[in-house]
């Protein structure tokens, strides 16, 4: 019958259209786009966009829609307002990003109340994942690089005594506490712990380092926020001739951010850091990742550990979309699907622990050296596999609640 065919086609088209709409998963992306930390936001945002661009076809017929908002300053208040509105107005089904710990901490009760999962791409305070059953983290906690570094420093680098220096805010305190726990467990002795001013202003590091130099430890463990502080640290270390004085410089990878490494000069050579990502990591996923990054963003732009984590976050979301057939309406189900998820990504093998919802990843001990082409690079000395967040394992402080 002539009339039935066009009607049938119309009906089919309508069904497909509405089905397609129902299969778009809305993802809220909250990273800092303004202020002094805008470059952190861009590193993550670029990674999210790149993954979606390259892999959109993998989840067909489903789609992922990114709705982006500015995380604002690290006060937590803006992030809270913005995320709450993403949930209530834009009806996002999952939120990701979050450069700053206060943002995630402030949002915990909101997530529990709204039953919306959060997949953290950066914020590193260890006990964040305890605050809500809807918080899942794929980035790291301060303990991931710092705790294994403790044992590594004692056993492999030969540091019997260490002086620690850190920027005086929670990540600094967490990192040094983690290092100390690991180091003392291995048998080492911490001779000093020096807070070095607030994260906002880069201080003159000389008085702090001079004090440590006068104490003659074998090694100095330094934690500073990535960026301008790192350059200042390396300069002070070089100017005071600390390597010549026999004090090795160690720390987490924040000490030698990829985009500042070349400026650091000879003072950086011999620094040993522990981290889960470096641009030069040799695994095939990273090679592809870096190549695609250069293709999309130019030869002068480089991904860093935040980009790698953001990349993996989007990967996890995409895999969950496939697993749940595009249905993210039950937040608890999404969290369950994320638990135990694992992949080989630019950082190597990463997994989401089913119990703590925190990341389990490899930590690499890396040394700065001068490559044959004259540039500074990092070479992997050793890898500690499948590192969990020791703070929660040992139930230290707030991690135990």
């Amino acid at each position: 019958m002539q009339i039935l065919r066009p009607l049938a086609i119309a009906a089919l088209a309508a069904t497909i259209a509405s089905a397609a709409e129902a299969q778009t998963v809305k993802v809220g992306v909250v990273v800092p786009f303004s202020g002094a930390n805008a470059d952190l936001g861009h590193q993550m945002d670029n990674a999210f966009d790149l993954y979606v661009k390259l892999h959109a076809q993998d989840i067909a017929p489903y789609k992922v829609e990114l709705i982006k908002r500015d995380e604002g300053p690290p006060t937590g208040a803006v992030a809270k307002t913005v995320t709450t509105e993403l949930i209530t107005n834009d009806k996002v089904q999952i939120v990701t990003g979050y450069s700053f710990s206060p943002s995630a901490i402030a949002l915990a009760p909101v997530l529990t109340q709204a039953k919306v999962p959060m997949l953290i791409a950066n914020a590193g305070t260890a006990w964040i994942t305890n605050l809500s059953p809807y918080i899942v983290r794929l980035s790291f906690s301060m303990w991931h690089p710092a705790f294994p570094m403790g044992a590594y420093a004692y056993n492999k680098i030969g540091c019997k005594t260490v002086a620690m220096a850190y920027t005086d805010f929670p990540p600094g305190k967490d990192s040094t506490e983690a290092f100390k726990t690991g180091f003392e467990k291995a048998g080492g002795k911490i001779v000093d712990s020096v807070p070095m001013g607030s994260p906002v202003q880069v201080p003159d590091f000389t008085p702090f380092f001079q004090k440590i130099k006068d104490e003659h430890p074998d090694c100095m463990y330094v934690f500073i926020p990535s960026g301008a502080h790192a350059a200042g640290v390396m300069k002070a270390y070089g100017e005071l001739g600390m390597r010549k004085a026999g004090i090795k410089l160690i720390g987490p990878m924040d000490l030698v951010p990829d985009n500042k490494l070349q400026d650091m000069g000879d003072a950086a050579i011999g620094t040993i850091v522990m981290g889960h990502y470096a641009r030069d990591l040799g695994n095939p996923q990273n090679k592809t990742f870096v190549a695609e990054w250069h293709k999309a963003y130019g030869a002068d732009s480089y991904p860093d550990f935040m980009s790698a984590a953001a990349w993996d976050c989007m990967h996890a979301i995409f895999d969950t979309v496939k697993k749940l057939n595009g249905d993210f309406s039950d937040g608890a189900e999404v969290v369950t699907a994320l638990k135990g998820w694992s992949t080989n990504g630019p950082r190597g093998h990463v997994m989401i622990d089913s119990g703590t919802r925190d990341v389990v990843e490899d930590e690499h001990a890396m040394e700065i050296y001068r490559k044959p082409d004259g540039k500074l690079g990092e070479r992997v000395l050793d890898t500690v596999k499948a590192v969990k967040d020791e703070c929660k394992e040992l139930k230290i402080g707030r991690c135990g609640s």
């Binding site: 002094a36 805008a38 470059d39 005086d168 020096v194 807070p195 070095m196 001013g197 607030s198 906002v200 202003q201 880069v202 201080p203 003159d204 000389t206 008085p207 702090f208 001079q210 004090k211 006068d214 960026g227 301008a228 502080h229 350059a231 200042g232 300069k235 070089g238 100017e239 005071l240 001739g241 985009n259 500042k260 400026d263 000069g265």
Partner: protein, 290 residues
Amino acid sequence: MPHIANIAVSIVFDGLAYAMFLFITSVGLSVTMGLMGFVNLAHGAFAMAGGYFVVSLTRSLGIDFVSSLVIASAAVGVISVPFERYLYRRLYKSTDLEQVLLTIGLAFMAIATFTYFYGPIPKSVPLPAWLQGDVNLGFRSFPSYRAFLIVLGAALISVLWYAFEQTNIGAKIRAAVDNRRMAASVGINVDRLFTLTFALGSALAALGGGLAIQLFGLTPSFAVLYLVLFLIVVAVGGLGSLKGTLLAALVIGIIDTGGKYAFPVAGNLFIYAITVVVLLIKPAGFYGRE
């Protein structure tokens, strides 16, 4: 060297270098505030501009560091003249509040402009070999760059002192700081004096900004991050006083360095404590006039 003496030498040396940076960057602010009674919160922005010019001169044009410092300072000094003539001059008779707001607005615009052209990532400068590493003075060695700061600071102080105390221009400036009306009535061209002093102050700020890159790194937020520090030096030292700025810079530089060495947990508390104590006792600062 015996241990305590070694520590003391370290603190004095580092504190001195820090003090020289504070002095160089703040002296311009002190003189213009004392001379013109104008609260210039964009001073940090001029320092930042100097820093970025040095970065461009050294990295893009390959000019050596010291020459870049000179060129950048001169450039900022010249550029500051139209600002003084056409913008600041309109507000000399205005309230403190309006001056604060105008210059904060300028600072914001400066930060946005430099973010646009240079990006938010911190910058560094390539130093010549003789400024890297350390210099051995026999009994111990000192970082070369900081030694350079101290020598440069001392040289500048001598030049400024001579200029202020011994030259005609210096006398005119001192006269105008003391009593502007009287100075104008004896025939001193106060307007031109203002412009000249402002240009000189901005040039010195730019020099300080260029020198700061090696100490603190350079981001567009520099304009406001260290502004409070400069204001403290100026307030504690006394407006319009060379001696005052120097003394304040020395006190703050050495006590802050010593504090960071001995009680690092206190953070910046020492600086604020000095500010409060000095201002409560001598509200006009060390050598300010009431």
